[in-house]
Every structure is written in C-alpha cells, then in structure tokens.
C-alpha cells in the first residue's frame, strides 16, 4: 500500500521532513499501526511519536483516531495539537 504522509509544525522540524511517499508492508492497515511502524525507525521518530508526546492525526484531511483504516493512495498527516485562532 502506497501512502503520502505529511508532517507539520514541531513534528516537521523535529523529524526533518515535511512529506514522504511510503510503501507500507502488509498488515499496516490502520492509522495507529502506521504510527507504530514509524516509531520503530527510532531516534526522533521514537521520541516525537512516543507515549509522552501529544500528536494528532488526519486521514484524507479529516481528523482521525488510531483505528481509522488506511487505503492505498490515502493522504495521512501527523502534527501537534493545533494552536490557531
């Protein structure tokens, strides 16, 4: 499954990337499984997406929870809690 993943704000800076195209292995089919898979990259990925950190997730530009299923071609975004307004 091929996904586009975007990173914003503090996460973008800490991970050193704004966007990547991912080829996910079979079995990584929910948003939560994707984050777990990214965390296994270690380093900043393990820290920033780790237990103690607050982050939010959107699938196809809607806020989503970890159970949200992923489909080929989805746009996933990871970012800190929002602070506009």
């Amino acid at each position: 499954m091929r996904l586009r993943v975007l990173y914003f704000a503090r996460l973008r800076e800490a991970l050193g990337t704004a966007e990547e195209a991912l080829d996910l292995p079979d079995g990584i089919d929910t948003a939560g499984a994707l984050v777990e898979w990214l965390r296994r990259r270690g380093g900043a990925w393990a820290v920033e997406l780790g237990e103690g950190r607050a982050w939010r997730l959107a699938v196809n530009q809607d806020l989503a929870g970890p159970d949200n299923p992923l489909r080929d071609g989805d746009e996933v975004a990871l970012f800190p809690p929002v602070t506009g307004g």
Binding site: F8, A9, A77, P80, V82, G84, G85
Partner: protein, 156 residues
C-alpha cells in the same frame, strides 16, 4: 457563507457589512476578532509565524461553519484566518455570524471559535528575545470545545 485562509489583512467593517447590508432579515451580527498579543505565558512576544495545512484547513473551517449553520437558525457567516508572519496588534482571525436574533448569533460565533481552536490545523511559532518556540495547546481550549457536546445554548 465565506471561508478564507490568507496572508493579507482583512477588512472587518466590509466583512460585517456584507453579512447584513443586503439582507433585511438580519437583526444581529456577533463577531470575534482574534489579535496577536505581545506576551504569552509570561514571555514577551516580538512576532509569530502561523503555519497551516493547506487543503485541510479550508475543509475543517467549512465543516465547523456547516455544523454551526445546522445547530442554530443563522442567516450567514464569515470565517477568515490569516497565516504567515504576524506581529503584536495584528488581527489573526475573524468570525462573524448573522442571525435574526442575538442569542443565536452569539452562541454560534463562540462555538465556531471554540471548535476552530481545537480542530482547525493551524500552528503558531512565536519569536521571543530567547529565540522562537512552538506554542503549546491549552487545556482550556479543549474544555471550551467540550462545552458544546451536549446541546446548543443561546436564547431567542
């Protein structure tokens, strides 16, 4: 309904006039202007940069606005949020809501701001004398948004 995300300033009077000038059913326009302050959490702020998620931002604002239109008998509304570089006293966000009666206009305007603060993908990075830092989300904003889970307030 007007939703905009832009770097340029907006014209408060023109936006409010557009909501009621041609619609004599409008009796009330409640509006909110968010402004950049010169301090936050005890830090002196020299300026800030507002980042957003193009595409999702407009989608999230439209969804919040539609939810407000469904909850209250509104006649029209406008949401404009700026992004990019801002300095203290610069306006950041405008929410203006037109209705026949004031209770609906007030409730919807506050509802939109509370949801915008927790659901719309904007992030502030402040510049202080010590460097720049990402603003942390406030628990008070989550609490404000949670107030609306039950049912609309507002009086006729």
């Amino acid at each position: 309904m007007k939703i905009a995300v832009q770097t340029e300033p907006f014209d408060l009077a023109a936006e409010v006039a557009a909501l009621h000038r041609d619609n004599p059913k409008v009796g009330a326009v409640a509006s909110f202007l968010g402004v950049t302050r010169d301090e936050n959490d005890g830090h002196a702020i020299q300026g800030m940069r507002l980042e957003h998620y193009p595409g999702m931002t407009e989608r999230a604002l439209r969804r919040i606005a539609e939810e407000a239109m469904a909850r209250w008998p509104l006649l029209d509304l406008t949401v404009i949020h700026r992004v990019g570089e801002l300095k203290p006293t610069d306006p950041i966000v405008l929410v203006a809501v037109a209705a026949a009666h004031r209770g609906d206009a007030f409730a919807a305007c506050e509802f939109i701001m509370d949801y915008l603060k927790t659901q719309a993908p904007f992030w502030k990075k402040e510049t202080t004398a010590a460097g720049s830092r990402w603003v942390e989300a406030r628990a008070a904003d989550d609490a404000a948004a949670a107030r609306w889970s039950d049912r609309p307030r507002g009086n006729g």
